[in-house]
Symmetry: C2
Subunit: 490 residues, 2 copies
């Protein structure tokens, strides 16, 4: 685990970053403006150069400023005109309740699959963003070298070479995750399900963000668990004060959170907050299932650390995969379940025995050959441009009263429609124009977020997407306003 | 679905088979003796030629007789000397109870993995029995032709070509299973778990055989389900009379049965009994999860039909895979869940999204190229020889008082040790001699079968196995006899 920075210095760079952010929001600093040089900021604020750098990196990671090689930091370009406002921190109904995912999720996922549909509702990136040729070569060459006995020996623990490569990537972030803590799974989804299984029994309650990824809700439902949806800040993640309250009130058995580029909000919990989260949970001996599948899709130069980096008690069950950043369709993920590693490994053994040997070997080969980081750098640049394009297009096209969150990373953009516009009706109307979107009620156990949608920027921005965005904006403009207090339309 | 034979004719060929079986058991017909020719039997019994053929096929499928090309049917060769007796129908404690799989299962599975251990306790066949080279070639060539869009389009439903190949194999058995009923999974284990999820909620009870496959017990435990263990005949499967009683008494939500070459008994439920089972369950609208992974490992020429073949109401959720017969380590299985197909597909989508695209494509390619049936024929011959060798070795070496079941197919041999020999103690003693075995308590929710072991004939019989068998028999001979009423040693 890395040495965590002292609270004092963290507070300082975060304070500086917040101040600059407010100046951008207030229009004092405008798109294209140059930030003070490090030397200027150092002397004008009386802080260290490292504090200034950390503040600028943080702003860069939030997409608010851009580094230009050898010339400094600039306020990021926005669409001309006034930006749409941001939604408030979410405020779900309080309480713990059983989960029943309705047909909506399946209908929406089904709608996003046809190739002729504009995939604003998709959960996937365009497959053309991945190094499929190089993966294929790795699969071919590793397959040629598979021994008959690999079929048996790689069984319960999974491919050792691949586990070592994963452990090495943790180490590069300063995290000492032993190879034998890692349990290879069929994608992060299986990892998350196994971890949930390891920490909760039917009837238990589990904390999730609000809104939350529908797969988490479905997993709770399958195991007969209750969901406690906690208010979540659209840029900084779950509200820790409210989390502390629900822990006292409902005695949940675990939290299932996406601390980095949350789906659907796209928010990034600041690292100090991640540390506070881990400390809060440690005081209650409460496990955190950390869904971290978007971690590699950051902006700027520095990868955000997961909450697991601050965990000293083995309470964080960190789950990730190669599906979002390297090899969709290979279905290779993993859990690093801390002190519950053996329990999760056993559950894996009894649930699906092991992963597919040939694809594990192929990924091990690909990672050992190198080139993964080069691919990631190029993927990050593509996604940054795609996020900017989608965010800008919403700002340019959607009517006043729309609110939108600029995502800190990943590939989702969360939009609050003007008061009273029904997301389900918009979803149905958009489909008649061959445009998909993910309506807000998919992301809540109580079908809340009836006036919200999640948009995906999964492919290179082009005229088709631009046209589809105009159509979508027109549909929002023309939509009948429903009484916000009326019962949901689903 | 095939036209099922009328009960009258079925009763006739089964009666004839049973009569001959009794003559073999009584020593009237001895190893090497020729059975009456079809013409002789027809006239002496007054039955049709087809009835005689069906009876002989059945005896062949049970390994009691062998066909010699152009010269007729002969009583199968046995070891010289008196055969050991068969165990009785099992008699588990009655009742429905929660499941707690203890560390035993994991310890035993772990022990069977080292390459230098004689793998009588393994759950796997020797990897050298599989066409790994041809599979590799299929993987390489199908990988070369994968399109980027396959990564997205093959997602939720799975590879369509592979599903078609599976549907074609059902059709060859006279079963019309539509391609879109088939849900591809990570091995049969995931298929079984998803089906269980689709039919039962925490607190429900599910019927299993006694003894039963430990993975079934672990799946029940994970979902908070209760197990009802029903007495099971060592050659003909679960007792239908007792099943009818527990259905009335405990109102279970489903049965999870292995009707063909049950693990660990190796028993094959006769087809008439499968039909009766399906009818019994239909009267109670009770789903059957049919674990059919060993179906291809039959003896003789005719593949046994699964219970699903008799299902007209979509109540049988048939689960299988390629792991036991073609590609261990690829982890490709499927469910054909009848009327619950959509529900299982949704659960799959939310549990692990989809299977691994490259290995699905590789298996589709392998199956389309042909050669699978040739491989299966050769595998069946190998396993028949391996079963005979293990069964004979137990008969030759184990002390009087041992009882053993000749398996009808698959690769497990179930042994009842002389009264009072503790299977757990034997397991520990055998491990010190680098020999693994699967002790009986692994196969029961109440750790029953304390005097039973499951042996695996997963590889070509050789001097090493022969020596290990003598060692094992000596350990049984030397073992202290424990009082059968004493508490279990685990």
């Amino acid at each position: 685990m890395p040495t965590s920075p002292t609270s004092a210095s963290v507070a300082r760079y975060e304070l500086l970053a917040r101040e600059i952010e407010q100046q951008i929001a207030a229009g004092v600093l405008r798109p294209g403006d140059r930030l003070p040089s490090v030397r200027q900021a150092r002397s004008s604020r009386g802080v260290s150069a490292s504090t200034v750098f950390q503040a600028y990196y943080l702003l860069e990671s939030r997409g608010l400023v851009r580094a230009a090689p050898r010339s400094g930091y600039f306020v990021a370009a926005r669409a001309s005109g006034v930006l749409l406002a941001e939604p408030q921190t979410t405020e779900p109904q309080s309480g713990s309740q059983p989960v029943a995912v309705n047909d909506l999720v399946y209908a929406c996922l089904g709608a996003a699959r046809a190739r002729d549909i504009v995939p604003f509702g998709s959960a996937f990136l365009s497959p053309t963003l991945f190094p499929l040729d190089r993966l294929r070569r790795a699969l071919v060459s590793s397959t040629r070298r598979l021994e008959p006995w690999n079929m048996v020996e790689d069984l319960p623990p999974g491919n050792l070479r691949l586990k070592r490569e994963i452990a090495k990537r943790y180490l590069r972030q300063g995290m000492a995750v032993p190879t034998d803590e890692i349990v290879l799974t069929h994608g992060a989804m299986e990892a998350l399900n196994l971890c949930l299984n390891a920490v909760a029994r039917p009837g238990d309650a589990v904390v999730v963000e609000s809104p939350t990824f529908y797969v988490a809700l479905q997993a709770l439902q399958r195991l007969g668990l209750h969901a406690i949806e906690v208010p979540t800040h659209v840029r900084e993640g779950i509200d820790l004060g409210r989390l502390a309250q629900v822990i006292e009130l409902y005695r949940p058995k675990a939290c299932w959170l996406m601390t980095t580029f949350q789906n659907p909000l796209g928010c990034l919990m600041p690292e100090t907050k991640k540390r506070d989260l881990v400390e809060l949970l440690a005081r209650h001996d409460l496990p955190l299932i950390e869904d971290d599948v978007y971690a590699e899709l950051y902006e700027g130069k520095v990868a955000p650390l997961p909450a697991k980096a601050y965990d000293r008690r083995g309470l964080v069950l960190h789950c990730s995969s190669f599906s979002k950043c390297l090899a969709p369709g290979y279905r290779v993920g993993w859990a690093a379940p801390g002190r519950l590693a053996r329990e999760v490994e056993r559950l894996k053994l009894m649930t699906s025995l092991t992963g597919s040997i040939p694809v594990q070997a192929a990924l091990a080969e690909y990672l050992q050959e190198g080139g993964y980081d080069r691919h990631l750098r190029s993927l990050r640049l593509s996604l940054q441009a795609q996020r900017d394009s989608l965010f800008d297009a919403v700002n340019r096209n959607f009517p006043n009263g729309t609110k939108v969150v600029r995502p800190a990373g990943g590939y989702f953009v969360w939009v609050e429609l003007p008061a009273g516009v029904d997301a389900m009706a918009l979803h149905r109307a958009a489909l008649t124009h061959r445009i998909s979107l993910a309506p807000g009620p998919m992301f809540s156990a109580r079908a809340e977020f009836q006036h919200h949608i999640r948009l995906t920027c999964g492919q290179h921005w082009d005229e088709t997407l631009e046209r589809a965005m105009r159509t979508l904006a027109r549909l929002v403009d023309d939509a009948p306003r429903v009484d916000a207090a009326a019962p949901p339309s689903i």
